[in-house]
Every structure is written in C-alpha cells, then in structure tokens.
Amino acid sequence: MIGARRMAPRRWTRPLVCSLLTTLAATLAGCGGSLDTGYSIDLIYPVRKDPLVLAPLPAETPANPVPPGKLDESIRRLPEIKGKLLDPDKLTDAQRADLKAALDAAFGRPAEPTIRVLGKVEDEEYADFVTEAPASFAALKLADPTVEPDDKQKAEKDQAYRDKTLAVGGKLFRRHCMHCHGVVGDGRGPSGAWLSPTPRDFRQGVFKFISCDPGLSRLKPRRDDLRRTLNHGVEGTSMPSFALLTEEERDHLVSYVLHLSIRGEVEYDTIKTLLDPNQGPDALTDKKLDRHVASRTGLFLWQWAQAATASGATPAEEPKATDPADAAFPASVRRGYQVFTGQDAGCISCHQDFGRQARYRYDDWGTLVKPNNLTNGIYRGGRRPIDMYYRLRCGIPGANMPKIDSKNFPDADVWALINFLRALPHPDTLPDDVREKVYGVVDPKAVAPKHAGGGHD
C-alpha cells in the first residue's frame, strides 16, 4: 500500500517531463525552421475553367452590385441578359491536355515560372513577333542587362536571368498578392471573392491604369504603371500600398505580374480560338496548338514591349494654371466644366450628376463597376494631375472609359478638365456660377458635408 503511494508521483513524472521536452524541442525547431514560402514544385497552373466574357457587354445593367462571393454565378448568368460567354468546359479532354502541355512548356509552373517562345512559327503574320521576342524581353527588363549583345550564349543567359527574376517574383507574389489575386492571377484568390471591387484578373492582359502612347493598337501598361500601383496602392479599393517592400522586390513582382498576364492572355486567346465555331473541329491540334501558343506569346510580348518603348502619353503643352490661387484658374475650371458637361467629350453621360448618380456598368471581366463619383475626391489611378491626364488620354481599358482624343481636345482642354475635376470635391475652389450648377448653392459653406476623403463611396 505504502509502496504503491510512493510510486504514484513517478508514474506521471516521466510522461510530463517527456512531453515538456518534446514541446520545447518542437518550439525551437519551429523558430529555426525555414521561412521559405515558395510554391511546392508539384503545384501547377490550372487551365482556365471560368467562362470567357466576350464583347458586346450587356447594355442592361442591374441597379445593385454583385453580392459578395457571387461573382462567378453572376458571370454565368450573363447570357440571360444578352451577354456572350465562352465556356472552357466545352473543350474536349484532348484539347485541354494539349493546351495544358503547351502552356506548361511556355510558362512553367508556380515554383519554376518562365516565359519561352518555343518552336518555329510558319504563320507569316506572327513570325516577326517571334523573331522580335529577344528584343521584347530586353525592353521589358526580362533579359540580363549585363550580357553583351554579341555574346554567343546570350539566349541562354537571358533565359536564366528571366527564370530567376520570375522565381523570386513568384515567391513574393505568393506571400503578398496571391491571397486576393490567386495563383494564376485570376483575381480569385481565397479572399478575392469577398472584395468590392474585385481584385484585377490579369488573364486578359487588360489593365486599367496605364500611361502608354494612346495611339497604340493595343493599350498595355508600362512597367512604371504597374510599379505606381504597387507603390501607392489603389485608393478606394482593397489594394494597399506595397511601398514597404524594397524597390528590387517590387520590380520582381512587376515581372511576375507580366508573366501571369501574358500566360493568361495566351490561354484566353487559345481557348477562344479552340472554341471558335468558324475554325472547324480540328483547326488547332498538336503542333498547330504549340505554334499558336508560341506566336501569341510573341505577339503579346511585342505589345507589352511596344507600350514600354513608345514615348507614352506625354503632354505636349503645360497647364496655364495649376493652383487655385492662380488668376487663370477659375476660367480654366469653367472651361473644364463645359468640356465635362458637353456632348463631344460625353463625360457626363456615364458620370451622371458628376458621378453622384452614376449607374453600374459591366466591364470587360463581366463585373459590375460604377463610374467614379467625382465629388468624392478619391482617384483610383492616382491624384496627381499627370495621373488624371493619363486616365483622360489613355482612357481606362477594361472599364470602357474612352480616351479623349487630341484632335478635338487639345492639351489645354484636358488640363482645364483636370482643374475642374480637382476643384470639384472642394466647393470653395469652384467659381460661383459653376458651384451653383454642381451643388445648387452659391455659398460654399452651404454645401452639405460629405464623407471625409480616403474612403469608399
């Protein structure tokens, strides 16, 4: 009896000490563990499953936004209101397998991302873009800048440089962006569905806030545009600023976004071609599909490179007045008001009541967006006058805000419009007559107070 009692403490001493030591060991191991947050090598880029939204977009639009988490359901219902969709589910298993193989060869996988233009392209129309690919890579900072042009191994060295940049960018993307933008950059990451507006889907190669030459046939962002979005975030949306990352890290991220976008656009284009009823059932098979992927990769690279190397939407003329204290400012604002409300520019037809009564409209991704309420003073693409200049001259692709052409509206008119837009949220800076037309009162203090800047509308 006594012996048994004496044994009692020992019976649980050992397990307790063991478990304590195990916990301690596990904790220490956890602390010293690898912080490598890259992708598993087994992870692949899945082939697109959600429908492609085709033009023309439905003209009829609901009065309310898409409820949170229901984006894909609402896109699938677009045909009910005369929207056009292409469903990748209609691809045959063989087509899907071929497409996946071709895309994987050209773009790798999340842990080993790459961009390769593979194989010869017989199609005359696209052969040049493929030949141009090395130059495109160089223009897009996806080629090793230290390698001399006459280096015999230049192609291999450039490829190695590109793969390394993209691998680093992919790792950063996983840590900072994937949660909203998704592994393939489809804007359907775990939290993406719950955000309004929805995170950008890169897979159509369309970006809203760009500053390239507006005369280009296909408007693509320049690296600086993507970097600006990373630096400043997109005010009024869930996209925060990533200015705390180093400049190098942001550069890698830009490269990776470019990779995802080109991969997505090639996939988009190929699915569209595969499902095109006019092409006949065996239009793109085996080798042809590979060539299609190569030619489109070359084409989209060239388009990006065009935007990067062309001069950009540079103002030809400086504004006459930029400060409300300038004597010419009121006249400029008045002119801006005329342009905004006039028939030719047509701003007011979408930004109804200066955006206060704007209606939801479909964008190229099949999501509902609202033209900005310009009395709020929140500018997604940036609040610098030059940012506004870019928005007006390049338009907002995807959201279908048209560009203002320089023939009908010289820079002076655009600067006037910008001055009007800058003054619009601040009634005290509007001339009396304009204030009365916009806010219905002459006294700036009588304008009803609104939500103080920085928020959503």
Partner: protein
Amino acid sequence: MTNRFWAVLFGGVLLACFLMVALAPVFGYWLPRNVCVYGDDIDHLFYVILWATGFFFVLTSVLQVIAIWRWGDYDPAKRAQYSHGHLGLELLWTIAPGVILLYLTFAQIPAWSKVTYPSERPTPDQVVTVVGRQWEWRLRYPAAGVPERVRTWADGGLIDDVYVVNELHTWKGANCTLLLKTDDVLHSFYLPNFRRKQDLLPGKTVTIWVQATEANTKHDAATDTWSLDPAVGPAWEIACAELCGGRHYAMRGVVFVHPTKDDYDRWLKHTATRQRSYKPEQ
C-alpha cells in the same frame, strides 16, 4: 529525495525567468526608445506596475519553492493539519494589495488626463488625418498650417491637401494632433516610440496627440530627399495593434521626425509639388 526535483525545477524556472528579464536590456530587448513628451509618465507607470507585480511574483514563487523543498518529501504516515486561517495574515494580504491598487488608481490620473483629456490637449501645430484600412495607413496633411484650415479641413479636405501612405511626418517639438478614422474594421494606431496606442472605431473620429522630443530624419540636399538618420537607430514604427485581417502584420508605417519646422515645411512643399505634378515622372 525525489520530491526535491520539483523544488529544483520550479526554482530553476524562476531563476531562468529572472535572468531573462535582467539580461533582456543587455541584448536590446526592452522598451523602444522613448521620444514623446509624455513617454516618461507612461514608462514610470509601467515600471511601478512592473516592480510591484515583479516583487510579489518573486516573493510568492520563492515561498513556494521553499515550501516544496522543505515539506515536499512528506511522510505519508503523518496526518495533515487543517488551518482555519490567520486573521492577521488575511488582513495583511487584503489591505496591502488594496493600498497598492488605490495608489495606482490615483497615480495614473495625471498621466491619463495629460494624454487623453481634450481639455489638456495642447494647441495643435499640425493636424494630420490618419485613415486606417485593410491594410495600410493613409495620411492626409494640410498643405500649410493656416489656423482656419486646421478647423475646417477635417470634414472634407482642401484641394491642396497632401496625401501620403504609411508615413507620419512631424517635427521635433510639434504638437502633432492626429484625427484617427477607419474605412473598414477596427484597427489600432500604435506608436511604440511615442507610447501611444489608440483604437480606430468605424464611423468615429478619434483625436490623439503626440509631441516628439527627438528628430530622426535628415535631408539630403544633393538628391532633395529625406531619409531616416541611421545614427538614431532603428526606424520608429507605426503598427496596427488590433488583429484586423489576413495582412494585419503588414499594416506598418514609419514615423519621420524632422529636426525643425522649416525642414518639415520644405518636405511638405516638396511632396505637395510632386502631388501636383503635371510632368510624366514617377
């Protein structure tokens, strides 16, 4: 003999804790550098509470270790003794904590009123609106310190206001008043170096103030840029101290304290000019 094990274990853990706390400052793990006028008041209260709780923690732990050492190896044949309590002891350990708590109640009043009472708030030299959102701090500065502007600008902003993300700029000695708002969920605006932490409440504007006693920013005339002075040590951080979502950890910013108002004004003008830029440059 076996039961001495527990006395040694408890004693060892106690000693290890004590050494860790005592040695932490040597390795730089202690309160971050205090750079706010009322930081000392907050730190003083922190130390009072630390000493009071530390003293009693050590006292009770040492008594426990002594008890385990002395009486742990009990004789099972001996009957336990039941105590009905000791009035003197009960009085002692009721009154002593009561006195300490009363002391803390009154001792914190001056600091609390100085830091939080609107009536005690100094006349602002600078008013900055801070909007927290998932997951960044958006700050808005009035372009110039016109007194009237300080009054009116909080509700709508003015055309020449300066917008900056994740950077709080002030200058040494400025009464910096911060209007805290949130766009989405609860956040908490935390300035560890200024000993100030305040929740942001949706739909409400909360006003706080800080005043820096030191500067940490220098101007590089060659590039016309401002950067943190490495000689001052690590950056003074803005942190979110309220779990606010997936990237709560990334909701950080930096405080730049300019040496003089002139330097701050120059920075503000520089930033305002960039924001008004109509030339294509990053």
